[in-house]
């Protein structure tokens, strides 16, 4: 679906890790008495006879996964085979690393590669910490009603279509848009944001902040509610003021959430908001705005160089997978928190 749904993925995996932990802890001290049929290993024949109705429920979903998820993965072989429109979706003949060499020698590829890295790094460094800060700010509000209203407002942009967001970005940054009015109000000169490549990163990161930070607080707020109030009391008795309580109780309490989200953000680092960029960029902005995904979209869909674009796409996907595996491994080693 949308490529920039890292928050959704984060939530999902968070859930997964919680489940695993639960299972690990429950294997020693089981909460429910073990049921006769769930103990021991059973043969496939026995499992099928007993649970054949459950397996029939799996047929359609597994077909879905095979056709719409795994077949396209296999379809990536066209990165190494010549594909002819109308021919087999897995290509006609092997060409080896021809397309890989093609993109390694393509200066445009390197430009979009660096643009992707820069935008991904900026998003990670600037956008990632902001939900933590905002969640802590919400947490310090004492009026429950004010807190609820503020949270509701901050979540709103998350539910907007990326097309709406792109429309808003273009309206606000227009020559006669609000931002330029403010600049002129302070005596400055209007800036044609959408014609100057050097402004694109600022515009993009700002729109990301606007759209994602509010909703990003939700997992941290959930984690905050699980912190034992007795810890705060103990800290107070030990003479800790509010700052030290935040530092020594609140932040350690949300640390696992922070790490899981950080790993996921690193994993989706290359998949910068492709749909948004596709909607707001234009050729004048290509020097900074063109990323791997937009480039391979133009090359593949627009110029029909399918194999070449597939090679670039595969390269990007492998980097993404490598990044998430590495981040997960480092985190497991260094702080003992990991996705699996």
């Amino acid at each position: 679906m949308s490529i920039n749904n890292s928050v959704a993925i984060a939530e999902a995996v968070e859930l997964r890790t919680e489940r695993e932990e639960e299972r690990r802890s429950s294997s020693s001290g089981r909460r429910r008495p073990p049921r006769a049929r769930s103990t021991g290993r059973v043969s496939w024949r026995k499992a099928l006879t007993r649970d054949w109705r459950l397996y029939t429920l799996l047929i359609l979903p597994v077909l879905f996964l095979v056709i719409f998820r795994y077949a396209p993965m296999a379809g990536n072989v066209i990165a190494f085979r010549r594909y002819r429109p109308g021919g087999s979706m897995f290509g006609d003949e092997w060409v080896g690393l021809h397309y890989v060499q093609l993109f390694i020698n393509d200066p445009t590829f390197w430009r979009v590669f660096w643009n992707t890295l820069i935008l991904g790094t900026l998003a990670l460094v600037i956008v990632f910490p902001l939900p933590i800060i905002l969640a802590l700010m919400f947490n310090e509000l004492r009026s429950a009603r004010f807190k609820r209203v503020a949270q509701s407002i901050s979540y709103l942009p998350h539910f907007m279509s990326v097309v709406i967001v792109a429309g808003m970005v273009l309206q606000l940054t227009a020559m006669r848009g609000t931002i330029n009015q403010v600049i002129e109000g302070f005596g400055g000169e209007a800036i044609p944001f959408m014609q100057l490549a050097e402004w694109f990163r600022t515009v993009y990161i700002s729109s990301e902040i606007w759209q994602t930070v509010g909703w990003g607080t939700i997992l941290y707020l959930a984690a905050l509610t699980t912190i034992d109030p007795q810890l705060y009391e103990a800290a107070r008795i030990d003479g800790a003021n509010r700052w030290r309580q935040i530092w020594h109780v609140t932040l350690p309490g949300i640390r696992p959430t922070m790490i899981v989200l950080l790993i996921l953000n690193i994993g989706t680092f290359m998949a910068v908001g492709f749909e948004k960029i596709l909607l707001i960029y234009n050729p004048l902005l290509y020097p900074t705005a063109d990323v791997i995904a937009t480039y391979l979209y133009r090359v593949g869909i627009f110029s029909s160089q399918f194999s070449y674009a597939a090679a670039i796409g595969l390269f990007e996907a492998i980097i993404g997978l490598t990044l998430i595996l590495t981040a997960n491994w480092i985190s497991k080693r260094a702080v003992g928190t990991s996705l699996w």
């Binding site: 995996v13 996964l65 795994y70 296999a74 700010m137 990326v162 429309g167 606000l172 609000t178 399918f306």
Partner: protein, 314 residues
């Protein structure tokens, strides 16, 4: 008298804001009180900045084009008019595409719900042999996917281009939603299901008559998750639909916007390089957003509970 009152006014307000509160018998420190006041003000500013683009769109929708183009419309409509609404609502293609969005959303959500519910229910059964494998092949797709090009070729090969299936089927299961629902079913009281099994209900009967009627909250959450994402999606339709009468309304809006981003290759090819008036875009954006905004209290409540379901240990 009056003058002194005025002079004291700001001081009093400040004194009230900065008066240290006493919570649980412990008085706040002076610096913490100052911090709280700044924090409150900052949050109000953040809320205003978050809402501003929406307010701006509403103001533009009711303003005449000349005022927008001369940069005079911010929060309050200038040159109040509703003719823009008449213009947009009078476009039969807008209605057609809006109708497409409704149809796509309803059909896609229905199919997604069937697939997600059955998958999640089967995966929630801890005794199911091969369960870990099935969860594994589902979760792996979150971290590695085929990419645009192989997907495009697949959809073309299957002959799904320019059909509703290109929009509905490739996104029929969201793994995130699947995991949330699985977590919910795992916490479903086993005793109820066992009692139903003793009464002679099959797996299908238990799912249909016992589990689903008692899972209305999670079903509502999932329906909203899917409906919002299908309502907002544009790229699949943009990729797989070649005829404008098949577009959802998000692609309709995209084409209005693309008129403004001069030189966009796809816009130029489609002959859309003409500038569309800002108020028309604003009205279209408003009309697309209205269903989401009007359902927002429900959406927010269920989304938050859905996320909590996934992230907080029960």
């Amino acid at each position: 008298m009056v003058a002194t009152n005025l002079n004291q006014g700001p001081d009093r307000v400040a004194a009230r804001i900065f008066r240290p509160a006493t919570v649980a018998g412990i008085k706040d420190s002076r610096s913490y009180t100052v911090f709280r006041a700044i924090n409150g003000v900052l949050i109000i500013v953040i809320c205003f900045v978050t809402l501003y683009p929406f307010l701006n769109i509403i103001a533009q929708s009711f303003s005449s084009e000349a005022y927008i183009n001369s940069g005079q419309v911010n929060l309050v409509p200038r040159g109040f008019t509703v003719t823009t609404f008449q213009y947009v609502l009078g476009d039969s293609m807008f209605w057609r595409n809006y109708g497409n969005t409704v149809v796509y959303t309803v059909v896609a959500t229905a199919i997604a719900m069937v697939l997600t519910t059955t998958f999640a229910y089967a995966l929630s059964k801890r005794h199911l042999k091969g369960r870990t494998f099935f969860i594994g092949i589902a979760v792996f797709t979150m971290f590695f996917n085929g990419g645009i090009i192989p997907n495009y070729i697949l959809i073309s090969t299957l002959g799904m281009k320019n059909t509703i299936w290109a929009i509905v089927l490739p996104n029929a299961i969201s793994i995130f939603n699947l995991l949330v629902m699985k977590a919910f079913f795992e916490n479903f009281p086993e005793d109820l299901e066992e009692a139903a099994a003793i009464d002679g209900l099959t797996t299908y009967g238990i799912l249909g008559r016992i589990v689903l009627p008692l899972s209305k909250a999670v079903i509502a959450t999932m329906v909203l998750f899917y409906a919002v994402s299908f309502w907002n999606s544009w790229f699949t339709a943009f990729l797989y639909m070649d005829r404008s009468e098949l577009y959802p309304v998000t692609v309709y809006l995209r084409n209005l916007i693309a008129g403004a981003t001069a030189g966009d290759p796809s816009a130029a090819a489609a002959g859309e390089a003409t500038q569309v008036a800002a108020n028309i875009k604003a009205v279209t954006m408003l009309l697309i957003t209205i269903p989401i905004i009007s359902l927002y209290p429900f959406i927010q409540k269920y989304f938050v509970s859905g996320v909590m379901l996934g992230s907080v240990k029960q």
